[in-house]
């Protein structure tokens, strides 16, 4: 322990700046992992209906594709079972009037009479029609209290409600009204979103379930609420896995930095270790001391990381919820819960990463012979000699990575793709020494010409400390490659989506009902609207579109129906195979459908297969006519002609309207006319350009969290760069002192370190670019394809990447400012006579 204190703690205290930088690197790495885990849990863990607190614990939920027929409530209530059946409507709604106007929230239509009084209060049956219950969160946001009036915009009318109760301790926003009022407001007479079943205590659940199943149509679903949450989690698994993997990259960068810190620690204390060994310390003792240093740094860093992660999670949760809402399903963020298990997990992960990263340098320390001179130079020389051998191993690692990319997903996850990424990083680490030597050698003349003697010495110093330079370059390159690969992936995705939007969104004006939307499903439009649109002057063709959630093979997906004739003539859908014209012509009037690529991928569907989809009380067999590229939702979409849908669900509401204006008509004028004629309806009417821009904005918001993660990894890498440069300076203080003896001015020493920083940045940037491009291919063609089923066209955003690389390079040089100043201030006489 005394040894540990003298050999480790004291130097750590002495090099305070470096110790803090190392701790911060670990802390940030751990923080990102914790933050992604916590915010992911919070964003996806809140699927259990907010109603639970209001109506009590639900035992079963009864749902049906296209909605539940209200009349079954009576049939179920007549069953000889001890259970209560409660109708529920759950729809987005917009608050109208006053300062709260325009706020969107979830409306629950429930049977207020049967709601337990202790949860919401007693309601006067006379006033049920105008009674509303607000969650405390919504009441807080809108600044409304008990007794206040709230106006809600329905499908074709606005209704006022009086707030008669506030449901306390809610962390989601919702408003509850009586079922009849909800049906009237939303024009959903006779229809429900689901029926909830509450069993009396000691009731035989399986028996009740069997009776329910026997009563409702066979196409309906009867499941526990837990199953729905589980289904949501399953749906989000790929999304969360990808975020998680991304967060681990920060930790990986941290691992390289720990390696570097311990390696420097070993190098600097080589003499001390030699003396200790001569005095009888065992090699195991030395190993333990250095592993102890790493473990201690890991523990403190992780502890800091947990605190930081908790704060970061609060910042990330909004972004993750946005993504979940935009792409998957409606979810309101829950609370961030930092459990003892996650604390322990983070501590263990951070410490284990630190411990294992330190293993190699600590073993090197243990091997230090009691007496040795110039060993460091020999080690570095050996590293140079081994560079070629390492290059060969790197080739093998890269080949393994390439082979792994050909493997399919395991359990729906691109496991082989992730492992390929690790092999690619390993290959880069192995290439690094040869790369550093090669590039520095090639640049030697240029450096001497442009950066003078400082450039000459800087280049030589980097090669002289090759083993450590390589580690720093690899760490930085890994962070940069992550930035580049994700940048290329997102940029390619964005470009693909923009091209797709341009071919998909061809109409001049688009309309949808106001209210929150998720995964391409919008609230229904009032029945009278289509006719008004068609009769508006300047309107040419009108494509009415219906989209609603259905269940297929146990997972939720979207069924859409539109005019396939218009789609064929006006839009240019791209199919994986076959002619769009032939496929789309074959749809109208027949039980045929086209499906999106993610749907086909997820359900292993091929052209010609038959999909059995329950619609209302019947199961419809739809033949797949083709598979087309679509980027609206990874849940997938089954698209039929409108005539097919209306044959089975005649009352299904329209959710979107696309208006093509007559040739020569002014689209803006037509839009204004439509707005005037439809003023009474809560509609959003947008011209083509606005919708396209909106779609791209949603896309950008979706990837905001990815960019945030990248930023953290880059910050970790920059801390690492500063740390490593400082380490290089400390390690070479004798040399720096000597150069001063030989006539170097303080400014020359400063410039030398800055040139080193610039060179490190350049080396890491170029290596990171190569690795990043390779990883972007893995992300686009393996990870993304296997996780979400989207085919993305490769479109690297050159300007953006160039700018980012330049920025990283400048920041690396800035990271060298402190070490450079430190080096310039070194007392030469002390430094030279230190040994």
């Amino acid at each position: 322990m005394k040894l540990f204190h003298r050999l480790i703690l004291r130097p750590l205290r002495r090099d305070r700046t470096r110790t803090i930088l190392t701790l911060l690197s670990i802390a940030l790495g751990v923080a990102v992992v914790i933050a992604i885990e916590l915010s992911g849990d919070a964003a996806t863990g809140s699927f259990e209906s907010s109603l639970t607190t209001l109506v009590g614990k639900v035992d079963y939920e009864i749902t049906a594709n296209g909605g539940v027929d209200e009349t079954y409530i009576a049939k179920l209530a007549a069953l000889p079972v001890n259970a209560r059946f409660s109708p529920v409507i759950e729809q987005p709604v917009v608050v109208a009037g006053g300062i709260t106007r325009g706020a969107s929230t979830t409306l629950y239509g429930i049977d207020l009479i049967s709601t337990p009084a202790e949860n919401a209060g007693d309601f006067d049956p006379e006033q049920l029609e105008s009674t509303a219950v607000l969650s405390s969160d919504l009441a807080g946001r809108l600044g409304l209290g008990k007794g206040a009036t709230i106006q809600l915009k329905g499908r074709d009318q606005t209704a006022a409600f009086t707030i008669r109760a506030i449901a306390a301790n809610q962390n989601t926003e919702w408003i509850g009204v009586d079922i009849a009022a909800a049906q009237r407001l939303l024009d959903m007479y006779g229809k429900l979103d689901r029926i909830e079943v509450f069993l009396s205590p000691h009731e035989n659940a399986p028996a009740v379930e069997n009776r329910i199943r026997a009563t409702v149509p066979a196409t309906w679903d009867v499941q526990t609420p837990g199953a729905r949450s589980e289904e949501n989690r399953r749906m989000l698994r790929a999304f969360r896995w990808n975020l998680r993997i991304l967060s681990y990259i920060s930790l990986l960068v941290g691992a390289f930095l720990i390696y570097n810190t311990i390696a420097v620690s070993v190098v600097r204390r080589r003499t001390e270790i030699g003396i200790l060994r001569a005095l009888g310390t065992s090699s195991r003792g030395v190993l333990a001391v250095f592993l102890g240093e790493a473990t201690m740094l890991g523990l403190i860093g992780s502890a800091l990381g947990i605190v930081l992660g908790r704060l970061l999670a609060a910042a990330l949760i909004g972004m993750i919820s946005d993504t979940v809402n935009a792409l998957f399903t409606t979810s309101a963020p829950g609370t961030i819960a930092l459990s003892p298990v996650s604390i322990l997990g983070a501590l263990l992960t951070g410490t284990a990463v630190a411990f294992f990263s330190a293993l190699i340098p600590a073993r090197e320390a243990a091997r230090v012979a009691p007496a040795e001179a110039m060993r460091r130079a020999i080690v570095e020389h050996e590293t140079r000699l081994h560079a070629r051998r390492d290059l060969g191993i790197a080739g093998i690692a890269a080949a393994i990575a390439a082979i792994l990319c050909r493997f399919g997903p395991i359990g729906g996850r691109p496991v082989a793709g992730y492992i390929a990424t690790l092999f690619a990083v390993a290959a880069t680490a192995l290439v690094a020494p040869a790369f550093v030597v090669g590039v520095v050698h090639a640049l030697r003349g240029t450096l001497k010409r442009f950066a003078g003697v400082e450039g000459f010495i800087a280049a030589r110093s980097l090669v002289a400390s090759l083993s450590r330079t390589s580690i720093v370059v690899t760490a930085l390159a890994t962070a940069i490659s992550m930035m580049i690969s994700v940048g290329v992936m997102v940029g390619s995705f964005r470009e693909t989506v923009e091209v797709w939007l341009a071919s998909e969104l061809r109409a001049d004006i688009f309309m949808r009902a106001e209210g929150a939307a998720t995964a391409g499903i919008y609230p229904p439009i009032a029945a009278a609207v289509p006719q008004i649109v068609e009769q508006t002057p300047g309107v040419g063709e009108v494509d009415l579109f219906h989209a609603f959630e259905i269940r297929y093979q146990g997972t939720r997906t979207t069924l859409g129906a539109g005019n396939m004739d218009i789609a064929r003539r006006r839009r240019s859908l791209r199919f994986l195979s076959g002619s769009a014209d032939n496929i789309l012509t074959s749809l109208p009037g027949r039980d045929r459908a086209i499906v999106t690529e993610p749907f086909a991928d997820k359900h292993h569907v091929h052209t010609g297969d038959v999909l059995k989809i329950p619609l209302g009380p019947r199961t419809v067999a739809l033949t797949v006519a083709g598979i087309y590229y679509d980027y609206s939702s990874d849940r997938g979409l089954v698209l039929v002609d409108r005539s097919t849908l209306l044959k089975y669900l005649p009352n299904q509401a329209v959710t979107n309207i696309a208006v093509y204006t007559r040739p020569g008509a002014d689209a803006a004028k037509v839009r204004r006319e439509l707005e005037a004629r439809l003023a009474a309806y809560p509609l959003m009417i947008a011209p083509n350009a606005v919708l396209r821009r909106g779609a791209v904005e949603v896309f950008d918001r979706t990837f905001a969290v990815t960019y945030a993660l990248e930023a953290v990894a880059i910050v970790v890498a920059m801390l690492g760069a500063a740390n490593s440069l400082l380490a290089l300076v400390l390690d070479r203080r004798r040399e720096i002192g000597l150069i001063r003896y030989l006539g170097a001015a303080a400014g020359q020493v400063r410039r030398m370190i800055l040139v080193e920083a610039g060179l490190l940045g350049f080396l890491a940037g170029s290596l990171g670019l190569v690795l990043g491009m390779a990883l972007s291919l893995v992300l686009i063609y393996v990870v993304n394809k296997q996780s979400f089923g989207w085919t993305i066209q490769f479109h690297p955003p050159v300007e953006l990447l160039g700018g980012a690389l330049l920025l990283v390079w400048i920041v690396t040089i800035l990271a060298g400012v402190y070490p450079a100043r430190f080096a310039a201030k070194l007392e030469p006489a002390e430094a030279v006579h230190e040994e």
């Binding site: 003078g452 003697v453 010495i457 150069i739 003896y741 030989l742 303080a746």
Partner: protein, 253 residues
């Protein structure tokens, strides 16, 4: 001292092209009685309170080897640091080739080291990343001189190691490393050569070669050599032997 500058200026400006630096140094020594290193009543007290030098005065002249003798801690290294323009005296003054170090700022000291001073250390202090030739070339590069490689090669030849030009330090023996260090110290033809225990880390045979080189530096190049040593062999090559004790000069012989 100031009175001498116009005369020196005249000499320097009227020097024929063919005159060597050695001849110039000897001219300064003999005609102007100007020592290469002039130490006047120098006291050095470190921030810790240790009084390393107490009123030391000493002249070191061109083409002469001055040996500083005495036990460890007697002030030899402090005196060398002052003469090498690496440190300032607390009181008194140190003049290198007529320039008072105390009046110079950091860049002035750097210029002085670049042009007038060469250092040789006990532990060679070669940059491990540079070859022998590059190590020798370094002071010229730092000073922004021209024809650096040719001059460095010339000096490497002078110490007899032209065949080791491309060797890295760890590929050289101790004696060879110290010869490279001497070449490096003399590559810019300094007026002053400071050597701190140059043979302290070498065997006798290698030490002998090094001492011969140091003597040649004074004789052939006209450098004023100040050498701190414990060894009798090193003291034997000196023209002036200064024995120090407790921060003072005890005897000069």
């Amino acid at each position: 001292m100031d009175k001498r500058w116009p005369a020196l200026f005249k000499i320097q400006t009227s020097i024929p092209q063919s005159i060597t630096r050695q001849e110039l140094r000897l001219a300064k020594r003999d005609w102007l009685n100007l020592p290469a290193i002039a130490i006047r009543e120098v006291t050095k007290i470190y921030p810790s309170g240790v009084e390393a030098l107490r009123g030391v005065s000493l002249d070191c002249r061109a083409s002469e080897v001055t040996a500083l003798l005495g036990r460890s801690g007697c002030g030899k290294t402090t005196l060398l640091n002052l003469c090498g323009a690496m440190d300032f005296p607390t009181a008194g003054e140190v003049l290198i080739d007529g320039q008072a170090t105390a009046k110079l700022d950091d860049s002035g000291l750097t210029r002085l080291r670049r042009t007038k001073i060469g250092f040789v250390f006990q532990f060679f202090q070669l940059l491990p990343s540079l070859t022998a030739l590059e190590n020798v070339e370094l002071p010229l590069l730092l000073a922004g001189a021209g024809k650096t490689e040719a001059t460095a090669m010339e000096r490497l030849r002078w110490v007899g190691l032209e065949d080791k030009a491309t060797a890295l330090p760890f590929q050289l023996s101790g004696g060879q490393m110290q010869r490279v260090a001497i070449a490096r110290a003399l590559v810019h033809d300094p007026a002053v050569l400071i050597a701190d225990e140059p043979t302290g880390n070498l065997d006798n045979a290698s030490g002998e070669i090094i001492l011969k080189l140091i003597r040649r530096a004074a004789d052939e190049l006209g450098a004023a050599v100040m050498i701190a040593t414990h060894s009798a062999e090193a003291a034997a090559i000196a023209d002036v032997r200064v024995r120090m004790g407790d921060g003072r000069i005890e005897s000069v012989s």
